[in-house]
């Protein structure tokens, strides 16, 4: 990927003379839309159009300001829908099956959650249920909800709440870690048991891939791409 730079923002009024007043003028909101503030160091930039594959980095602290959104709203919706299907498969089918002298044992994600709950590790059961089930599912459903309406260029009912939820939930979704954890568990169990990977492990693998694609998308772009439904 070629790194791109945003043109540094030039102050609205020259120098230090009461910039707030200038900002508050009628055209303030319009100007504000063209501005982007680095979330990590507070530097202000004028946004510029990004070409395919470009990523704008902050020149001060090096954090990513924004990425080119390489998928349109329709494609994003398709991807979310795919993720929902894969998520369902990942949750209903066994992840791995163990064999020990004729006996068999299989588990799903919820099997793991219930096992932890029953064996006295309720906190871990709760954490696993949230980070592996409720947060990822919530992310998929909420993103799907706003995208469904965004395809028509309008904001879904509850749009501000949904957008805030997406931003807040994002760091707590841990599908990728679970995927790696499953692999480690398989290798550990392999020493004593016959291990047969189930369809669930493939589904989780595919879901990990989709999650990676999603993390390159910024749902906050939708604020600029949609308008109030009332208008």
């Amino acid at each position: 990927m070629r790194p791109a730079r945003h043109a540094p923002f030039t102050p609205i009024c020259d120098h230090t003379e009461r910039p707030v007043a200038a900002f508050d003028r009628l055209d303030g909101m319009q100007r504000a839309r063209n501005l982007i503030v680095c979330e990590h160091c507070d530097s202000v930039y004028r946004r510029r159009h990004l070409a395919r594959g470009e990523v704008a980095d902050c020149v001060v602290c090096g954090a990513v300001l924004e990425r080119h959104q390489w998928l349109g709203v329709d494609a994003q919706f398709a991807l979310i829908f795919a993720a929902l299907i894969v998520f369902v498969i990942a949750n209903v089918s066994p992840i791995v099956t163990l064999g020990l002298s004729g006996m068999k044992a299989a588990t799903t994600l919820w099997g793991a959650v219930i096992a932890m709950w029953n064996d006295g590790a309720q906190i871990v059961a709760f954490l696993s249920a949230m980070t592996l089930f409720f947060f990822p599912l919530g992310q998929i459903l909420i993103f799907g909800w706003v995208l469904w309406f965004a395809r028509k260029g309008i904001r879904a009912p509850g749009f501000p709440l949904a957008m805030s939820a997406l931003v807040r939930v994002k760091p707590w979704s841990m599908i990728e870690v679970f995927m790696l954890g499953t692999l480690v568990a398989v290798v550990k169990a392999h020493t004593y048991f016959d291990v047969v990977p189930g369809p669930g492990i493939w589904a989780f693998g595919f879901l990990t891939l989709l999650v990676t694609v999603f993390s390159s998308l910024d749902p906050r772009e939708l604020w600029d791409m949609t308008a109030e439904a009332k208008a």
């Binding site: 707030v20 791995v96 871990v124 954490l127 501000p160 870690v177 954890g181 568990a185």
Partner: protein, 206 residues
């Protein structure tokens, strides 16, 4: 290229949730005109919150490592493993690659998080202007790798669910894994409470 101005110097601030740029306000109850979340130029009580959560995490880190996280039971033997002994077993069982991954996620990452967060908090409190760009990079690193420490917790969860062959063979979670899960959540919360903008605020040198 000249250094871009900072929002706070221009009398602006950006919503922490939706990034909408608004005029600066001291009002604690001001709301973002676009998404409705509370506006604040800097995260509230960032340093003290981050410290509190970090210290709490460090305290829980001791039982997380001392207590065993998992019990493997068969007819003839009972074997309790701590995080470290589990890694050693994985190494001896012939998967050194995975042992390195688990060691990185369970030992190196949490320790690095304690060190880096402590370093960031101390330098911010001293208004140090030293290596700001590198510190910003360290913070992004902590945010990026933080949640991978949950690896061992999930491994125990899957094994406990799978290995359930009555008296023949069983795997059970032990208290260590609960403490470890708490450590990961607390360090993540600590990193989220920290406001990286503080690295660039009131630097003495420069």
């Amino acid at each position: 290229m000249s250094t871009p101005p900072r929002a706070i110097d221009l009398g602006m601030m950006a919503c922490h949730v939706c990034r909408q740029v608004t005029a600066y306000t001291e009002d604690r109850h001001a709301h973002c005109p676009r998404c409705g979340n509370t506006l604040h130029a800097r995260k509230h009580a960032s340093v003290s919150r981050a410290w509190a959560l970090l210290v709490a995490a460090a305290i829980f880190y001791i039982p997380a490592n001392v207590f065993p996280i998992m019990r493997t039971q068969s007819i003839s033997s009972k074997d309790d493993n701590t995080i470290l002994s589990g890694i050693l077993e994985l190494w001896r069982a012939g998967s050194p690659g995975l042992a390195v991954i688990v060691f990185t996620a369970s030992i190196i990452v949490p320790v690095l998080k304690f060190l880096i967060m402590g370093f960031l908090l101390v330098t911010v409190q001293r208004s140090s202007g030293m290596v700001a760009r590198q510190r910003a990079r360290l913070y992004r690193f902590v945010e990026l790798v933080g949640y991978w420490s949950m690896l061992d917790v999930f491994v125990v969860a899957i094994l406990s669910a799978l290995v359930h062959f009555k008296i023949l063979s069983r795997v059970e979670p032990l208290p260590g894994v609960v403490y470890f899960g708490i450590v990961v959540v607390l360090t993540m919360l600590s990193a989220m409470s920290f406001d990286p903008r503080l690295i660039w605020d009131n630097r003495k040198s420069q």
